[in-house]
């Protein structure tokens, strides 16, 4: 009889897994690819008002007012949303293969057209009905080391100056376009994407535009491999941060602070937030002008340690080609802009993690985290793990308990938590969530630091009355990383554990994390800034928890029953679902 029951259980589980896999496949099948070329023929143009046409405030030099424009050739269906791209800091001038950092360039030199390095993205977005402007910021690159904020206010003002220009194009027209764009630009639907220092630039710009009374409506801000020197925080706007794991420039992936810092600072925050950790990606290859072989000067693979088994160039490495890497940018920047600027909600599952990476991403070796808007319908935080209280009482007011876990403390957040979660022997560049910023003393992400070395170990969060009906949510999620600095994690072997939901009748349903998510990977690499701890989202669909009453869930338990020992960093335990509409 026991054997029959066991077989029935196995069969049920197999069927459940099949259904879940089928669900994922259906989600993938139903989710279109945002990175494919759309129906519009595209025209590419540029405008150039001069190398010294604009002077940012308190900046040592005037800078250029130059940009490229990709737009639908036939604009009768306008107005179209506007996407603004801003490159990062790079050499500014070249002659032959020699580069320099001055602005304007000497007469014998040519400007390095960093702004042209995202044409692959701009043309695809334009083909799908967007006007895409990519701004040149060489003048800022040449002088930003001489100002305290390392050029962020200047970048914000430069973007605003271009938006003013586009407002002119849209209302009365101006050279060199005449009246071509009059009435064709939707200045209420704008998205910005900045790469590297441009990443903090677009975040700063959002705040600058707001300080001016929000003359332009920014719907989405995407920071690609960004720096975060000054720790600006933006809320009530869609925010995404893409983090290349093998970044050899912003090697500490400090841009993750944008996401971490914005999560709980504004009650009712309407902005969805994302991080996308791209394994095998470096800093430069998102820009074709910075990519060796695609531009004659100043291009490099910024990841310098060739011997690293993941990020290096030795046999068996996991590096992406430059084309693959651009694919990840194309796919996720397109998805993000098309969802939040264009309200093309069909792509939202790509951002929530419900759907796998689209084909245009050219890799599946990436990890998406999603923080839903702060509404009762879209997110219920079980435990934000922000302070010591959350070790005994969770965010919902329910009891929190641990059995057999050591340590079981918080790290990385506000004092008295330790500033770093790993031992002092580990470089801060391996701890993106807590790495210090150049111009801010803000602390990092508060994380639960936990580990086990025996059987019957668990971490539980009870749901109090009023918080037990989770049937309206689609997933249970949390962010987690394997703590590579803890020797209880055997090198290069993924961790695993079980999540158990218990309902009011005492019925339980268990799901292994590894059945739905690969986030419990052992962080790869051995040199420099890798391995590193990045907390990625594990998303467990609630449909996978069969046999419990989702209208009366009493507890969420992590049972560390898959491996005899291990150690993790955990935060952001929540029920979540995507919004049904985008503003």
């Amino acid at each position: 009889m026991k054997k029959i029951l066991r077989l029935q259980t196995i069969a049920s589980l197999a069927f459940l897994l099949f259904l879940t896999a089928l669900g994922a496949q259906q989600a993938a099948a139903q989710t279109p690819d945002p990175g494919t070329t759309g129906p519009y023929a595209v025209t590419r143009e540029e405008y150039n008002y001069g190398n010294l046409a604009f002077t940012p405030s308190n900046f040592p030099s005037a800078v250029e007012l130059i940009a490229s424009v990709h737009h639908p050739t036939d604009m009768t269906n306008g107005p179209f949303p506007l996407i603004v791209l801003l490159h990062g800091r790079h050499a500014t001038c070249y002659k032959g293969t020699q580069v320099s950092l001055r602005w304007p360039c000497l007469s014998a030199q040519q400007p390095i057209p960093s702004y042209q390095g995202y044409d692959y993205l701009a043309s695809t977005l334009a083909s799908n009905g967007y006007i895409v402007v990519s701004i040149s910021a060489n003048g800022i690159s040449a002088y930003d080391a001489q100002v305290t904020d390392l050029g962020m206010q200047a970048r914000a003002e430069l973007i605003q100056r271009h938006l003013n220009q586009w407002n002119t194009f849209n209302t009365v027209g101006a050279a060199p376009f005449g009246t071509k764009f009059v009435g064709k630009v939707d200045m209420t639907r704008i998205g910005t994407m900045g790469h590297s220092r441009g990443g903090e630039g677009v975040v700063k710009h959002y705040l600058y535009n707001a300080s001016l009374g929000s003359p332009y409506t920014i719907r989405a801000v995407f920071a690609l491999a960004p720096v975060d020197f000054n720790r600006p925080v933006i809320n009530n706007v869609a925010l995404a941060v893409m983090l290349p794991y093998c970044d050899g420039d912003v090697s500490d992936n400090q841009g993750v602070h944008f996401y971490d810092d914005a999560r709980y600072t504004a009650p009712g925050d309407s902005g969805g937030k994302n991080t996308v950790l791209v394994m095998g990606a470096n800093h430069n290859f998102y820009n074709t002008v910075w990519t060796p072989g695609l531009f004659p000067a100043g291009a490099s693979d910024d990841w310098a340690s060739t011997t690293d088994p993941h990020c290096g160039t030795v046999s068996g490495n996991k590096r992406l080609t430059s084309a693959q890497q651009r694919g990840t940018g194309l796919a996720y920047i397109s998805a993000f802009m098309r969802v939040y600027v264009g309200r093309e909600t069909a792509f939202l599952p790509i951002l929530t993690g419900e759907a796998p990476p689209p084909a245009s991403a050219q890799t599946t070796n990436l990890y998406v985290s999603y923080h839903a808007p702060d509404t009762a319908a879209t997110r219920r935080d079980i435990n934000r793990l922000l302070n010591a209280t959350n070790l005994s009482t969770n965010t919902l007011g329910g009891a929190t308990s641990a059995a057999g876990l050591t340590p079981q403390d918080l790290c990385g957040g506000e004092s008295p938590q330790p500033a770093q979660c790993l031992p002092s022997t580990q470089s801060t560049s391996r701890q993106p969530h807590t790495v210090p910023s150049a111009r801010s003393s803000a602390r990092g992400l508060s994380q639960l630091r936990t580990g086990w070395g025996a059987a019957n170990t668990s971490y539980s969060n009870d749901l109090p009355v009023g918080a037990r009906d989770v049937s309206g949510f689609s997933a249970l999620q949390f962010r987690v990383s394997v703590n590579f600095a803890d020797s209880r994690n055997p090198p290069n072997i993924a961790q695993n554990f079980t999540v158990v939901l218990t309902d009011g009748t005492g019925a339980t349903s268990s799901v292994r994390v590894s059945d739905y998510s690969g986030v419990l990977y052992y962080p790869p690499g051995t040199t420099g800034s890798v391995p590193k701890v990045v907390l990625n989202m594990a998303r467990l669909p609630l449909s996978a928890f069969a046999g419990v009453n989702l209208t009366d869930i009493r507890s969420v338990q992590f049972k560390f029953d898959q491996n005899l020992q291990g150690a993790l960093l955990i935060t952001d335990l929540a029920f979540s679902t995507a919004p049904t509409t985008i503003q």
Binding site: Q98, A145, Q146, T148, V250, T428, A438
Partner: protein, 181 residues
């Protein structure tokens, strides 16, 4: 007006003299300073241009290490007027600054700022010159300029000593014409 910058971490106290702060510090300098030096309008760009006396300089010309650093140069810069700075939590009046330059390259233009170190103290964030053969940081702290000190270059976090590259020569005062003997 007094310069206000606190570095609670002792390892980084000297970094309070870093270049980036200079801009802020001078922008916030005393009204007397401003009144007496209105034509100076001192900013980092000015500090880089003020005449300096070389007090130490390396001799190696061959770029080495992962950042291609060859040698160092330390210049003493007379300020147009005395100004108050905070050094190790003490407010001091100084009339000199020190430019610490790493020579070599060509250095890559990066998103992360260059950091120049003397021994285990981050002097400050560096500024590249136009042809990318020099990176310069500025400090007011004379106590950093010590015989036999090691000089390092890194990028990014001023507390991260792991990823530094040491220059091949130790700081040697009096090694340059006009240096302290």
């Amino acid at each position: 007006m007094t310069l206000v910058k606190h570095f609670k971490d002792g390892r980084a106290r000297h970094a309070g003299l870093a270049f980036g702060l200079l801009v802020l510090l001078f922008a916030c300098a005393s009204s007397a300073f401003a009144q007496n030096n209105q034509s100076q309008g001192l900013k980092m760009s000015d500090l880089l241009k003020l005449p300096g006396k070389v007090i130490a300089e390396g001799a190696n010309t061959r770029p080495t290490g992962k950042f291609r650093a060859a040698k160092y140069r330390v210049e003493e810069v007379a300020l147009p007027t005395a100004t108050e700075v905070k050094i190790n939590d003490r407010v001091l009046s100084v009339n000199k600054a020190y430019r610490v330059t790493v020579v070599g390259g060509p250095f890559e233009v990066r998103a992360m700022p260059a950091v120049i170190w003397i021994n285990d103290t981050a002097v400050g964030y560096g500024v590249e010159n136009e042809d990318l053969t020099e990176i310069t940081a500025v400090t007011f702290d004379e106590s950093l300029i010590v015989e036999g000190a090691s000089i390092f270059l890194s990028y990014g976090d001023k507390k991260n000593k792991e990823d530094r590259a040491e220059l091949p020569e130790k700081l040697k005062l009096g090694s340059a014409k006009g240096g302290r003997q």
